[in-house]
């Protein structure tokens, strides 16, 4: 009983802190929030500065990240879960993936700088940024995909094998569709983390002041968190209002993304379930 009260109080405290943050941001940012702000380009004058290149950059980078992380992550998980043997090598790989999920994101930025920007000569492009964020997202995608594959009932696999299906046919036609909602959830979680990342992209050299839209995967770019970071570090208070408004845009984007994904997942679950 006492424990329940304490637990409830702690929960309310956490929610209150979150609410306070949101109220604060909304109060600061709402004055700058307008259509012009969303569709505008950066400017030296805070009142004229907009967020469009950063917003476009964020959406572009995160879509590309998903395109890179999903197939590679799912393929890796299928190999580890369905094909790989349970030997020492597999255990070492598993341990590494679990550890990678906890590596500070700036390390991924350094890796991205060395591997994608320099060695593979992608430059400071959208592609290099997305590849860096995909690396960051991969461990979670792999782990959650393995969980989802493991959760598929053995009876479904048996039913498929009993009809003369090969292992790959069984995985592709029966196991993956059943696991899809779980895989999608993992992907959303990791993309939600990636979209808020600043450090790895600054490390690999994404621009902080961009007055044009990325036109291809080779363009230079910036993203919302970098733009916000840039505004916060200005001394003028007007820019701080811009930063607050930028945070509102970022949060809206994130919540929309999650909502769409949850909707997709529920729809999928209903379709296969009932």
């Amino acid at each position: 009983m006492v424990f329940q009260v304490v637990a409830l109080l702690v929960l309310l405290l956490a929610l209150a802190a979150l609410a306070a943050l949101i109220v604060d941001i909304v109060r600061d940012g709402l004055v700058r929030m307008s259509w012009d702000f969303i569709t505008g380009y950066p400017s030296r004058r805070a009142s004229q500065a907009g967020i469009f290149p950063a917003l476009t950059g964020s959406v572009f980078v995160i879509l590309l990240t998903a395109l890179l992380a999903l197939p590679i992550g799912v393929a890796a998980a299928i190999y580890l879960e369905e094909y790989g043997r349970r030997d020492l090598l597999a255990r070492v790989i598993e341990l590494n993936i679990t550890n990678l999920a906890a590596v500070p994101s700036i390390i991924y930025g350094l890796l991205g700088l060395g591997l994608f920007v320099r060695l593979m000569a992608m430059g400071r492009s959208v592609l290099a940024g997305a590849a860096t964020l995909a690396l960051l997202a991969l461990p979670v995608v792999i782990l959650s995909t393995r969980e989802a594959l493991r959760a598929v009932p053995g009876s479904i696999r048996e039913g498929s094998y009993a009809l003369g299906a090969t292992k790959w046919q069984t995985i592709w036609h029966q196991v993956l569709p059943v696991a899809a909602p779980g895989i999608l959830t993992g992907l959303i979680l990791s993309l939600s983390r990636a979209i808020g990342e600043t450090a790895p992209l600054i490390t690999m050299g994404a621009l902080t002041y961009v007055s044009f839209l990325p036109s291809s995967i080779w363009s230079s770019f910036t993203v919302l968190p970098i733009q916000i970071f840039n505004w916060v570090s200005r001394p003028q208070l007007d820019f701080h209002a811009n930063a607050a408004a930028g945070i509102l845009v970022l949060m809206t984007l994130l919540l929309t993304m999650n909502a769409v994904a949850i909707w997709l997942r529920d729809r999928y679950q209903r379709k296969v379930g009932q």
Partner: protein, 278 residues
Amino acid sequence: MSVTVGPTPPSLGAIVAGREPLPPTDGPCKIEARGMNFFYGDKRALEDISVKIRPNVVTAFIGPSGCGKSTFLRTLNRMNDIIPGIRVEGTVTIDGEDIYRSGTHVDELRRKVGMVFQKSNPFPKSIFENVAYGLRINGMAGTRSELAGRVEQSLQQAALWDEVKDRLQGSALALSGGQQQRLCIARALAVKPEILLMDEPASALDPMATQRIEELVYNLKRHYTVVIVTHNMQQAARVSDYTAFFWLGRLVEYDRTDKIFTAPSEKLTEDYITGRFG
């Protein structure tokens, strides 16, 4: 004071009485095991099994839990291969072909030897897709109308067509337990197997649904060789032509069903069917 009870079920002898005499168990056979041993790791689950199963009849495997009857059934389509650490000794032949010979196409074997499981396991897809899946993966789908025709035919063979013909695109999981099991039978029949293995197909169903499955099993033997594992001796007596009694991983007795249930030659069989143990 007397306690009223429902009508007593007919005795096993009464169920099998008056059957046409069947030929003995040796003779032409569809499936044959010779000196087969089966191991899960170090544990021997089947010991020196030799049996000839005749074509186009229903053969029942009976015996107490853990006696190896399901394990033996699952060696016939190599379903046990999925389990790590298993080992098979001796031979199992189907139509004279050793199915454990290296180079055997297990997928091809499983298409030819269909299986229905204890717990119905329809895929979480539409009724139509459940039946069409096997046809598609085996390259038997043909044109759209050929596929639809084959799906209908299979559902009809499984006595399910009339109940689902108006909702083929509906989810298979919305069907009742008995309907799901018949869907699994339809799914297995769609790929034109020659043998149908059934692992306690009615054990999770109510009496009405069980009766429908039993009628189905009885009719299937015209086109298929059916092997059914069952806990229920009444069921074995009703649906099967031949019965094999397993005990502790050994095949104790294998004979015509009427003989097993009226005049078994082994004391152990008699004790089991009269309910002295098991």
